[in-house]
């Protein structure tokens, strides 16, 4: 049992290096940061002048902004150590035969579809998207839905992009949003016309290429009046990152009466700094849900936000984090109530083991005049062993009397009586612990589409391997 676990851990920890060394790039900028690189990126992408301008302004702000003084220790983060633009070759990066057996094995265990496996292993740099979603694409087009990567959007829908980029997450919001704004590459652009309900979740990997899996994805989703859309980002397979710094920015616009949901399953390799700014603005009677699972990366900082600007707008942030050895999550949520009768639900669950740390940092803010607001925050932490740790930092900032805000937090350990009960029915200590942990996560997992729920259960089991008994 332990050997299998060690193998997997090793695989998780090392494989990204194996992969990176064999990647070939059609283009790679010099190491480090500077205006020359920003210009280079913009020129290579053949961007309009306003986009270059946006990037250059962002770079300026980036230099001026300090690192956050709170949260995880980022002092070892050296911005000069990274490549800021990598464009892989269009041709095959490597052959399937060269992919190490253990990695094929992991894909097998995770039950990842063939097409996706090759892509993830770096055999294909472009998913065979025609095969995966060719017929869907036609249907979407006939409904007026736009679903393209951001680079394409800048070329084909420049006005739409220009009107929305940086509007929910301003360049100057934080150092990493500025960094992303300067160097962004890849990500998705989604527009859903008024009244259109997108039944099937839009999944990033339908159209992903290794570039957009990359460091600085930028995503914009616009759900126009009365429409609804569910977008799913990431896949549960370990993602072998070419760079150890990821700073995404995601901006979502939920117009009147519209509904949007954004689900992430993040499983970056352990060498990655994952610093993401994701925020949605919700107009009257609209609703937004962030569903966020974090299993990978070394340090993660992300606080999905809902800005409830129209009356009766509703926002939810559901998140789970599973911190293992060497992992530190500083995750949470923000709900800004700017209008009357807006409501929010924040539900955060974290699991820590082997000295892993996970923290919840949240803000609920109620502006003056936003009467009749209701907000409910619930944070539950489960510690699997004595060395792991969980922290909660809830901030509440209320400028109105007529509000109802609830906050509940709990920290628990795996219950010995529950373990015994399950074991007395024949489950091994490990199976029993996995079952209890999955039970703890169930309220979250049941929000995911079936295939993701199944994969997440498996991933949790992998994280748990060797942790008990």
């Amino acid at each position: 049992m332990t050997t299998k676990h060690d193998d997997l851990r090793q695989l998780k920890d090392q494989s990204q290096y194996d992969f990176t060394t064999t990647y070939e790039y059609a283009h790679r900028s010099r190491k480090g940061i500077g205006a020359d690189i920003v210009r280079e990126i913009s020129a290579l992408k053949d961007e309009p002048p306003w986009m270059l301008d946006f990037r250059l302004r962002a770079l300026d702000i980036f230099f001026k902004k300090p690192l956050p003084t709170w949260g995880p220790d980022l002092s070892s983060l050296d911005f000069e150590e990274f490549y800021y633009y990598l464009r892989p070759t269009k041709s095959k990066a490597r052959s399937w035969d060269d992919v190490p057996e253990e990695i094929k094995d992991t894909f097998e265990k995770l039950g990842i579809p063939e097409a996706e496996r090759k892509f993830l292993a770096g055999v294909e740099t472009q998913l065979d998207s025609e095969a995966v979603y060719g017929s869907l694409k036609k249907e979407w087009e006939s409904q007026g839905i736009i679903f393209v990567d951001m680079d394409t959007a800048v070329q084909e829908y420049p006005e739409l992009v220009r009107a929305h980029i940086g509007r929910v997450v301003p360049i100057a919001d934080n150092k990493f949003s500025a960094l992303n704004s300067a160097f962004w590459s890849g990500g998705s652009f989604v527009y859903v016309p008024p009244g259109v309900q997108v039944d099937i979740p839009l999944q990033a990997y339908f159209r992903i290429n290794s570039q957009s899996l990359g460091q600085f994805e930028r995503t914009i989703i616009i759900a126009d009046e009365g429409s609804s859309v569910h977008y799913i980002e990431g896949c549960t397979a370990p993602q072998y990152s070419t760079a150890a710094l990821h700073t995404g920015v995601i901006e979502i616009f939920v117009e009147k009466g519209a509904h949007a949901r954004y689900s992430t399953i993040q499983n970056w390799s352990r060498n990655v700094y994952n610093l993401v700014t994701q925020r949605a603005v919700v107009d009257a009677d609209g609703s937004m849900e962030w569903v966020d699972a974090n299993l990978g990366s070394g340090i993660t900082m992300k606080y999905p936000a809902v800005i409830l600007k129209g009356p009766r707008a509703h926002g939810e942030v559901l998140s789970i984090a599973f911190a293992g050895a060497g992992q530190h999550y500083d995750a949470g949520a923000k709900a800004l109530h700017l209008a009357p009768h807006t409501t929010s639900i924040i539900n955060s669950k974290s699991i820590s083991k082997d000295t892993g740390r996970s923290g919840y940092r949240g803000l609920v803010k109620v502006a003056k005049g936003a009467y009749g607001v209701k907000s409910k925050v619930e944070c539950d932490a489960l510690l699997l062993d004595p060395g792991s740790r969980s922290d909660t930092y809830p901030y509440i900032d209320v400028h109105e009397d007529d509000v109802q805000i609830e906050h509940e937090a709990s920290v628990s350990k795996i219950n010995e009586e529950q373990l015994f009960y399950l074991m007395s029915r024949g489950l091994s200590a490990e199976q029993a612990a996995v079952m209890i942990v999955n039970g703890f996560l169930e309220p979250f997992i049941k929000e995911l589409p079936m295939e993701y729920a199944v994969e997440l259960n498996r991933l949790v089991a992998l994280q748990m391997e060797g942790s008990v008994g």
């Binding site: 015994f420 074991m423 007395s424 029915r425 169930e442 309220p443």
Partner: protein
């Protein structure tokens, strides 16, 4: 002949100063036999059942437990379960987020060796860790029907919000699916209403016959023994069995209480 043998068993609670709770218990249960164990509150009956099942809080300080002639003291609870030991608990715990269905399926799969048994015979390694869903559903529905349990329980979380009697019924459902060689029923009767007791007893009797199971029924009342007829009745007192006899002993206890036991054995 299959046997469960308790030999001079001494047990104390981990991290408690106190001296032992079990002070040399002896009992042999053979396949097909039904034993009833009665005794005052706090005499150590549940401690005995936990120790038999291998609960880590109950430390064996002396004596032995033999299953079919082999000591099981070194085995974890799951290994004991897979070898055919079952404990219907006095206070079953609830586990949030785990449906009764997924729990039962995992338990049945573990007991029947799914996930670990490679099929050497045909050279094919079966990886499926779980019993096929369709086969399992049929089986579980049939057993639930016999116990007159509503199927909707399968979708509920394990023991969460179950009434006292519903929990006990769910324990017997597990017994029925896990088909042990030896089962300990720790106060399964308490909490069951009159009809439920009859239904549960009928299932236990049927299983006992079908599997030729050895049974240890822990109870405070004669009532359940009207349905499940014991071959032996034992009185448990201050950590040991102090008297054994046939079914009539239970009737005597029901009529007279434990005073005479106290007088005789203290």
């Amino acid at each position: 002949m299959n046997t469960l043998e308790i030999r001079d068993l001494q047990v104390r609670v981990a991290d408690e100063e106190e001296t032992g709770i079990l002070k040399g218990a002896n009992l042999v249960i053979r396949a097909g036999e039904i034993h009833a164990l009665m005794g005052p509150n706090g005499s150590g009956k549940s401690t005995l059942s936990y120790a038999l099942m291998g609960h880590p809080r109950y430390v064996v300080t002396g004596g032995d437990i033999l299953l079919n002639g082999e000591s099981i003291l070194g085995l974890a609870p799951d290994e004991r379960a897979r070898r055919g030991l079952f404990l219907a608990m006095q206070y079953p715990v609830a586990i949030s987020g785990v449906t009764l269905y997924s729990f039962l399926r995992a338990a049945v799969s573990a007991r029947r060796g799914y996930g670990q048994r490679a099929h050497e015979s045909d050279g094919e390694h079966r990886r499926s860790p779980l019993i096929p869903g369709r086969e399992f559903r049929q089986e579980v529905r049939a057993e639930m029907a016999k116990l007159e349990m509503d199927r909707t329980f399968l979708r509920r979380y394990l023991n969460e919000g179950f009434s006292g009697g519903e929990k006990k019924r769910a324990e017997i459902l597990q017994l029925a699916l896990l088909k042990p060689e030896f089962a300990i029923l720790d106060e399964t009767d308490s909490g069951l209403d009159i009809d439920a007791l009859r239904i549960v007893a009928a299932s236990v009797n049927r299983l006992q016959r079908e599997l030729n199971m050895g049974l240890l029924i822990i109870t405070h009342y004669q009532r359940i023994l009207n349905y499940i007829h014991p071959d032996f009745v034992h009185i448990f007192y201050e950590g040991q069995i102090v008297k054994s006899d046939g079914a009539k002993l239970a009737k005597k206890l029901e009529a007279e209480g434990y005073d005479w036991v106290r007088e005789q054995f203290v």
